[in-house]
Symmetry: C2
Subunit: 419 residues, 2 copies
């Protein structure tokens, strides 16, 4: 049993932030036991770690990130998607055929995740199974929670980054076999997106999904081009999402759809039916995609939304910064497309970044009793003589803070050293 | 004479970045003498400071910032302009009636400017002359270049933050008298914006501008509401800009117009005629204003554009981050209003952030011979084993770097200690 004192803040829903100023959070066997204004008698004698006026918040969940693109963060950002893919991303990913090339990049990526307080992530790697296993192992060793997918591409892809259908399915099945016992880190099927996957591949992955009871992550209606190309390739389907549905890829585990900028009514139907997570990656869609997710409208439709860094289309790991970026983009969405919804606030975006995103990984992302104490201690946000409320400090952290404000990290209830 | 070695990068125009890899920049009496691939014989014996593969770039210019709002950075960002002004900004600014309240905030602001490499700034304070003088002195002592304006507000302003017309003009004239000999830091007239200034005040400031030969900074067509309100109040004028022209405020010194999001043809005419600087503040307009400057179109019209942090509507001091934000917003501008221009690139935005902005302060902002060596040394952007070009490193710094990447600062040719 451990007890931590500070200003405790977490999300239970997207309506409001739960704030417990000057309070105590009790942690038993790595799980939240409860939050108290005063230490209950039953815990007298338990040592208290006092963080004073610092915020104690749940660690972040990154629901869409390309770990192999960590090496290209913040480069080529003035290009549009197709150039950015062909000039930077595809050549870069092809190097991951060599595990010794991959190793230091994945090491740097995982350390950077922890530094920025991201303890749970849905991760795309590349088509290469051996390199993917290196990342898998690093995440396991650090104690992080993740869904990791070897990428599938067998169609309309550059020669140097393309598998045969057979090879793609075989390598994926080996990958699933290798990690069938994964506890905190688990495999997830990862067809890159419809335009780089043949029908045979998608339907084959659907069979694997059923056989191994494993979910899927991919990019869905991320650009007008991509949405149109999907329908051109699959004229028997009414939406990008329906292709995955018909392939049998949905309902076997979490379904995580990145971007969802141009959904049709049929996309919405599928996402509701299978409780898909639609991942808003504000920096990334702003940087290389152009277009803004209709967060407010999708929330009102009842969809499950979370946030993603989408490195390397997004430039950095901090999901707190995506909380700010999501609010910013929602203002422009309201300005340009008021029929698609209103400006969101910090309660909305922090909910997406923590509890909503965390749901995909199990009992993480909030401080309700029984949830894992994956937590960050955030400090040094106030100017001397100018006290701020906990919610204001959270907002300033998201907009203007950085990893230096994270003064302590707890993962599975344990203090993280050397972050 | 001093010589610095590194990868030297600066803007001469907005078409391209001038890059001198592995080169030497010679500085004589604080001014750039020249850049050399090898040390010329005439300089043999001069000590060389070797920054290896680090970038050496000009320091940044912030053409629009509210120093008094530094204390509220990153708070209330989900509000829109009128609420943000009435709930946070106006009450906050009213405290600056007390110089002892102002002093630590201005001290923190100036230190933060330097930390982020902003060495030249056009600064709004508040209506309070005494507090403004505190900031003025701090900027002078540090050796920074700035145009500083005591704000004028005599109309449609809250009781607690409103002057009489007479008082506003009298205090402004005293302020101009006090600083008439200013060398690096100079006064500038600062009517907040048309909706808070009476006709008598604006025309009175115009007379002061002529008498003291001093320029003006203000907010111009920053929102649809503001633009319409200006025309309602001044039905004899065709544009926000023409009001300032008719008041006699233009042509007496630099004219610095913040935001310029909804310019009419007449605004463009005035801005061209008086070589006004239109200041793009991407984070700020995204945060509380909503609307995007048509950077590409205004550049093609021949306007002079620069960048601003617009703290506290903007959340932080780093103008490098505004270089990235300007590119991001230009992508959305092209997406939503393609007729108003195309995506800009890092050469465009770095030019605005350095040479174009610097022009307002004299011979700063570039490394052409005769310019002041106000410089930043930027390092630790490459991942081991993955060398990047200087332009790529600049881009990564703007998108994903922070003040920790600024490993040395030179102001007026001298190394800055304790930044």
């Amino acid at each position: 049993m451990e007890i931590y004192h500070g200003d405790i803040l977490y999300s239970e829903n997207r309506e409001k932030l739960n704030v417990y100023e000057n309070s105590y959070i009790a942690v038993e066997n790595g799980l939240v036991e409860g939050i108290y204004a005063q230490i209950p008698e039953k815990f007298s004698g338990v040592e208290v770690t006092d963080y004073g006026r610092a915020l104690i918040i749940p660690a972040f969940s990154d629901l869409h990130v390309h770990a192999a693109q960590f090496i290209q963060r913040g480069i080529g950002m003035d290009l549009l998607l197709s150039d950015w893919l062909n000039i930077y991303t595809f050549p870069q990913e092809s190097h991951f055929a060599d595990p010794s090339y991959a190793e230091p990049i994945y090491e740097a990526y995982v350390n950077d995740m922890i530094r920025h307080g991201t303890f749970h992530a849905c991760i795309f790697t590349t088509i290469h199974r051996h390199a993917t296993n290196i990342l898998f192992k690093k995440l396991e060793e650090k104690g992080l929670r993740a869904l990791v997918g070897k990428v599938n591409m067998d169609f309309q892809s550059p020669d140097y980054l393309c598998e045969t259908t057979e090879e793609s399915l075989r390598e994926t099945e080996i990958f699933l076999d290798e990690h069938s016992g994964g506890e905190r880190v688990k495999p997830i099927l990862t067809p890159r997106f419809v335009p780089t996957c043949s029908r045979e591949l998608l339907w084959g992955l659907g069979k694997l999904g059923k056989k191994y009871q494993v979910g899927v992550q991919t990019h869905v209606v991320e650009s007008r081009w991509e949405a149109a190309e999907s329908l051109r390739l699959f004229p028997d389907c009414r939406s990008d999402s329906e292709i995955y549905e018909k392939a049998g890829l949905l309902g076997n585990g979490p379904s995580v759809f990145a971007h969802v900028i141009f959904p049709t009514e049929d996309d919405l139907r599928v996402m509701k039916e299978y409780h898909c997570t639609a991942v808003h990656c504000p920096d990334a869609t702003n940087n290389v995609i152009a277009g803004i997710m209709a967060v407010d409208r999708l929330h009102r439709e009842g969809l499950h939304l979370a946030l993603g860094s989408d490195i390397g289309a997004g430039q950095q790991n901090g999901i707190y910064r995506q909380c700010a970026a999501a609010i910013k983009l929602s203002k422009l969405k309201e300005f340009y497309e008021p029929e698609l919804g209103k400006t969101i606030n910090i309660a909305d975006s922090f909910y997406m970044a923590t509890k909503a995103g965390g749901e995909v990984f199990g009992n993480v992302g909030t401080f309700e009793p029984g949830y894992v104490f994956d937590a960050l201690v955030i400090d040094n946000l106030e100017d001397e003589g100018h006290p701020m409320t906990p919610a204001q400090r959270l907002e300033r952290f998201c907009y203007a803070g950085d990893d230096r404000n994270i003064i302590a990290r707890y993962l599975n209830g344990s203090f993280v050293r050397n972050a």
